[in-house]
């Protein structure tokens, strides 16, 4: 049998000398602001993507200038926690080394910078390093930033869950010294043989996402991850996790062999066995995953293609431990708790709504300055949430007034927030994301204004509806797990998806294809009207649309999502 030709990225990885490639040469050339095609794949493993301002592409072509290239760098911040001192450094870097003059909180509890010119990359990464932060494996075919519920109420349980998330992140970090050599000017070690004990030379077939959730909160959207750990506590002490695996959002328009999927439940594991299981799941994916077709290379397809039972048996074999029966657990809200909440340790926590996660100074809303001013006096920590929001955590009662004053002064607090807006997210999309086919972040606030108005019209404003919009079906804002999902097809055109559960335990399904704002709104107007009239007590919008048959429930994604 002849060897099958692998996906291009596989050869790039093999030839890259553990992710070095020709990145250094690319940095040295001053004639272009870009990296070579091959290096553009490798730099993702170092935490950044090459982008260009798509609004300016044609204009610059006329000007005989290359596209306005810049880089989007995502930091690795397990569980989304950083100190006020770190935040001050993060903030300073954004205003000195990026052209976007903003910080973007992401749906995976970290921050990213947009608009970094190539010449500033090294300085920026060194700046992060001085703040004890890095961007290793924030992108690329590796274990990405590990999410963890930032639960500020059950602080003891959160502490324990966070420790697990941190350990997962550290343990599964690539070992290559490429990052240290290229960006931090660390010496090449004499023994240049780099070992990747878990990954090997070709890393994973595709990105790999992990999250740790602390029920009943499901802000991390645990089922949308390749590997999820649902914390199980007894008497407030963490005892282990229900392990779920095989979730993932990414799909390609028009290709039915690709589909979003929610993770399967595999059973309960003890806290002490977390690393064993994580490594086992990851290495099975490393060895069984599809390296020929990158569109079919996520863990979800590996499980579908090899079968649940075979996969489970292999994981148990590699972990050397068997799954126990999964524990009963209630999965609840995916939103954040806005405003002040008191934790069990008598500390206070302030969750600030950051629209689309964009921290930027705007007229009347000096969000970036506000967070900077808070960081200067805050004694607790900052926690980025998976809904792109920010928690000012662990505030002593006597410091509340001052922090709240700053938050109000800078427009971080004070606006009336509809229940739906508070539960909704959008990805970055245009103009920087190369994958976007339609607007998301720039258009989303206005779109939610329309949704708010429609909910008011039908008297259902108190009901939170999870609305998510992305510019492409890659799914950064987890649109296929939204009660109302909008996925970009072309400028001004979206596919409309309905029927996901409010809690994130069931996917949605396409209701209308390639429609524009007017049609989207008129469709929702009709459905909101029926929902107001016909809903059962406590029935969420997503469940309603399934019950009345607007869309079929997606129970087995491989069969139902396109079926």
């Amino acid at each position: 049998m002849s060897e099958q030709k692998l996906a291009v990225n596989e050869y790039l990885k093999i030839d890259s000398d553990y992710l070095r490639g020709t990145i250094q040469e690319g940095l040295d050339t001053q004639v272009t602001g870009s990296f070579s095609d091959g290096d553009q794949q490798l730099i993702k493993f170092h935490g950044f993507y090459q982008q260009d301002d798509r609004d300016l592409r044609n204009e610059r072509k006329e000007q005989k200038l290359e596209p306005l290239y810049s880089f989007m760098l995502r930091a690795r911040v397990p569980g989304g926690i950083c100190s006020p001192a770190q935040w001050l450094d993060v903030d300073k870097i954004s205003s000195t080394l990026t052209t976007s003059n903003s910080i973007r909180l992401t749906t995976r509890q970290t921050f990213q910078y947009h608009g970094i010119p190539k010449r500033n990359l090294k300085t920026l990464i060194q700046g992060l390093d001085r703040a004890a932060l890095d961007s290793i494996a924030a992108c690329g075919d590796v274990n990405r930033n590990v999410m963890c519920n930032p639960n500020p109420v059950e602080s003891k349980l959160h502490q324990q869950a966070y420790a697990v998330a941190k350990e997962l992140s550290d343990h599964l970090l690539p070992h290559t010294r490429a990052y240290a050599e290229i960006w931090l000017d660390e010496e090449k070690l004499l023994d240049t043989e780099t070992h990747e004990p878990v990954y090997g030379k070709t890393y994973l077939p595709r990105k790999f996402k992990m999250a740790v959730s602390v029920p009943p909160d499901n802000d991390v959207d645990v089922y949308t991850n390749d590997l999820g750990f649902i914390a199980i506590a007894e008497q407030g002490e963490l005892i282990g996790f229900n392990l779920v695996a095989g979730g993932g959002m990414g799909s390609t328009h028009g290709e039915v062999e690709t589909f979003p999927r929610l993770a399967d439940d595999f059973g309960f594991i003890k806290t002490a066995d977390v690393i064993k299981f994580a490594e086992a799941v990851m290495t099975v994916q490393r060895d069984w995953g599809n390296r020929v077709n990158r569109k079919r290379s996520r863990l979800k397809y590996t499980i579908v293609d090899h079968g649940y039972d075979a996969f489970k048996a292999e994981v148990e074999k590699r972990a050397g431990v068997k799954f126990e029966t999964k524990r009963d657990v209630v999965i609840g809200d995916r939103g954040d708790r806005y405003g002040w909440v008191e934790g069990i340790d008598n500390k206070w926590h302030l969750t600030l709504f950051i629209e689309s996660g964009r921290i930027k100074d705007m007229p009347g809303k000096t969000l970036q300055t506000g967070l900077r001013e808070i960081a200067k006096i805050h004694k607790g920590d900052f926690r980025m949430t998976s809904n792109q929001n920010m928690i000012i955590a662990s505030v002593a009662a006597e410091d509340k007034a001052e922090i709240e004053g700053l938050a109000r002064k800078h427009g971080l607090l004070g606006e009336v927030l509809s229940a739906t807006r508070g539960h909704s997210i959008a990805c970055v999309a245009l103009p920087t994301c190369a994958l976007a086919m339609a607007e998301a972040e720039r258009y989303f606030p206005a779109f939610i204004d329309h949704i708010d108005a429609l909910q008011q019209k039908h008297g259902i404003s108190e009901q939170a509806i999870v609305v998510r919009m992305t510019g492409c079906p890659n799914g950064c804002a987890r649109p296929f797990a939204a009660e109302i999902g909008l996925v970009g097809k072309a400028p001004g055109r979206y596919n409309l998806y309905l029927g996901a559960s409010f809690e994130g335990t069931r996917l949605n399904k396409m209701h209308k294809e390639n429609i524009q704002e007017a049609e989207i709104l008129s469709e929702l107007d009709g459905l909101f009207g029926r929902y107001a009239e016909e809903r059962d007590a406590g029935e969420t919008f997503g469940n309603f649309t399934v019950r009345i048959g607007v869309v079929k429930a997606v129970l087995d994604a491989a069969k139902d999502f396109h079926g």
Binding site: V31, Q63, E66
Partner: protein, 596 residues
């Protein structure tokens, strides 16, 4: 001897031929005559026309040698006109650039007329440097048999006004030569003074010409780029494109301008410049006329032409560049004490001129001026020269320019440079009068394989785009190195994608860029040369030609200094030897500049 006095008896021509010649020449201007004579002489050399006996017999002692040292072409223009007038008198004329003149011939000269300009802080133009230096050196011969006259071109707003001309005049005298006429110093509005000098000096030469045989002109076929279109008689071309090259966040507006030469038959060589006659902006004309409460329809006289004030200001008069005389005149018109005081101080006047235009004078110093007075005091509109950014091997009947819009804001009012504004705001089909100004001192090496180092920051990169087009058309690979600089990488990388393509194809071997404002410390092309000193020296050792184009004031000097340092640090030369080294490169045409 004048052509109209020509008869069959005094020439080898038949009476019929004489009549035809008379008829033809009566229709021609002095410059056209000069050109025709050059053409005929060249034809004669190729054996197509039998040279006249008279010409063959003419001895060197009867030749009027006309030398010019010219940076922008004005000096060459004045010298060419002079040659035509001298030929019209029947004199034998040898017209040549100082840069091409063999200094050993100097001691044989009996009649020498020199036209030379001055630049920057009293510096000689490139092609005059060697002769300028030679005359002051110990090698300079006694010139007891020489009669001479010098016309100096300069800008009186500079401290060392006409300095090079003064130097030539003084050095000829010091070597024993006799002055035919006192040094003629000509300011920026040189045309009338130059014409007067040409007429006088042609008369002054007369007593020293012994015979009046038929004249032969060795008017150097200075250009392959010849055509009937000249500064005085430009071609009306059409603008095809005026495309902004700088990004939207750039603080400068640099244009790529493409002009269609149509059926004109105009040819140019890479390295040449294009002269642009432009019309002043209508808003500016209106602002001046209404600011002075004048009537745009008032008839005024410009030269021999009677036209409306509006038309005169639009197409005949310089509005965007002041000169000291105008500041002085305006001080008197306005009777403003501040301006009067300022106009008495040369340095202050010079600074003022750099930052103001006529429209500012009108606005800041209100004055009672009539239409006639205004037209009288304004200098004639002069064309602007732009280094050509294309090769005809690539663009055929087009010519491309790289034009930086000169713009400034004063008290909320935008002020623009006349020609750059005209070109930057030109739309497709806009008519523009053009002519080619050859530049024989900026030419690719004769052997295309000779390596070239091109230093062209800012719009100085223009001729190197032409060079690259030419080299690619000639099938030359590599052996080329460009240094480019500007403020910002993302915004100001002129022709970025073209250079990338040349690099990718191997047509351009190296490109070193310096973007001065992209980091804390400013980095310029000279710093890149210093960083690459060892390689630069190696290229020089391999016979590379070095070209510099762009700002004369600072860049060209800094780059020159950086090159000297390369010779010192890499070549182990003393600073003096390094100077000599580059001096030799210059005389062997391996070190050429097109700076302004």
């Amino acid at each position: 001897m004048l052509l109209k006095e020509l008869s069959a008896l005094a020439s080898p021509l038949s009476q019929g031929q004489v009549d035809k010649l008379k008829q033809l020449t009566s229709e021609l201007s002095a410059v056209q005559l000069a050109w025709v004579s050059g053409y005929l002489a060249a034809s004669a050399n190729q054996g197509q026309v039998v040279a006249s006996d008279g010409a063959a017999q003419t001895s060197a002692s009867q030749t009027v040698t006309i030398l010019y040292g010219s940076q922008t072409g004005n000096g060459r223009g004045v010298a060419t006109e002079l040659a035509a007038k001298a030929q019209a008198q029947g004199y034998t004329v040898n017209l040549t650039s100082m840069g091409e003149y063999n200094v050993r011939q100097l001691k044989q000269e009996t009649l020498l007329l020199a036209v030379v300009s001055t630049h920057g802080e009293g510096e000689a133009p490139d092609d005059a440097m060697e002769l300028h230096k030679f005359l002051a050196s110990k090698r300079a011969p006694k010139l007891d048999n020489l009669h001479y006259s010098v016309l100096a071109l300069g800008d009186s707003s500079y401290e060392f006004y006409c300095q090079t001309g003064k130097d030539f005049d003084a050095r000829f005298a010091a070597l024993g030569a006799k002055q035919l006429l006192p040094l003629a110093e000509c300011d920026v509005d040189y045309e009338q003074a130059a014409a007067d000098w040409q007429d006088s000096v042609v008369e002054a030469v007369k007593p020293h010409i012994q015979t009046a045989g038929a004249s032969v002109v060795s008017l150097a076929p200075a250009q392959a780029s010849s055509s009937e279109f000249t500064k005085q008689k430009p071609y009306t071309a059409e603008v095809l494109v005026s495309q902004k090259l700088t990004g939207r966040d750039s603080d400068r507006d640099v244009r790529h301008v493409e002009i269609d030469l149509g059926e004109s038959g105009i040819t140019y060589q890479v390295g040449d410049a294009l002269g642009i006659w432009f019309s002043n902006n209508q808003n500016l004309v209106n602002e001046i006329i209404s600011g002075l409460a004048l009537n745009p329809a008032t008839e005024v006289t410009v030269g021999k032409e009677v036209l409306s004030l509006e038309a005169a200001l639009t197409d005949k008069k310089e509005l965007t560049q002041l000169y000291p005389g105008l500041v002085k005149a305006w001080a008197e018109f306005s009777a403003n004490a501040d301006l009067l005081a300022l106009s008495e101080d040369k340095e202050q006047t010079r600074q003022f001129i750099l930052k103001h235009q006529l429209a500012d004078l009108v606005k800041i110093y209100p004055a009672k001026v009539t239409a006639e007075q205004l037209v009288e005091v304004l200098r004639p509109l002069t064309p602007r020269l732009y280094s050509i950014a294309s090769s005809q091997a690539e663009v055929e009947t087009e010519v491309h320019l790289t034009v930086a819009l000169v713009e400034d804001e004063r008290e909320g009012q935008a002020r623009f440079g006349g020609a750059s504004h005209f070109l930057a705001s030109a739309e497709e089909g806009q008519e523009v009068k053009v002519y080619v100004e050859p530049n024989n001192h900026f030419r690719l090496p004769e052997n295309p394989q000779t390596p070239v180092i091109m230093v062209g920051p800012g719009t100085g990169v223009a001729p190197f785009r032409a060079f690259m087009q030419q080299r690619v058309a000639d099938g030359v690979e590599g052996n080329s190195w460009l240094f480019f600089g500007n403020p910002h990488f993302e915004q100001d990388f002129l022709y970025q994608v073209e250079w990338q393509q040349y690099l990718k194809n191997g047509d351009l071997s190296r490109l070193d860029v310096a973007f001065s404002r992209d980091q804390a410390e400013k980095v310029y092309v000279q710093h890149r040369i210093t960083q690459q000193a060892s390689l630069v020296w190696q290229w020089l050792q391999d016979g590379a030609h070095v070209y510099i184009c762009g700002d004369a004031e600072r860049m060209a000097k800094d780059v020159h200094q950086a090159l000297l340092n390369v010779a010192v640090t890499e070549g182990g030369l003393t600073p003096e030897a390094a100077e000599t080294y580059f001096e030799e490169l210059r005389s062997s045409k391996r070190y050429q500049k097109d700076v302004y």
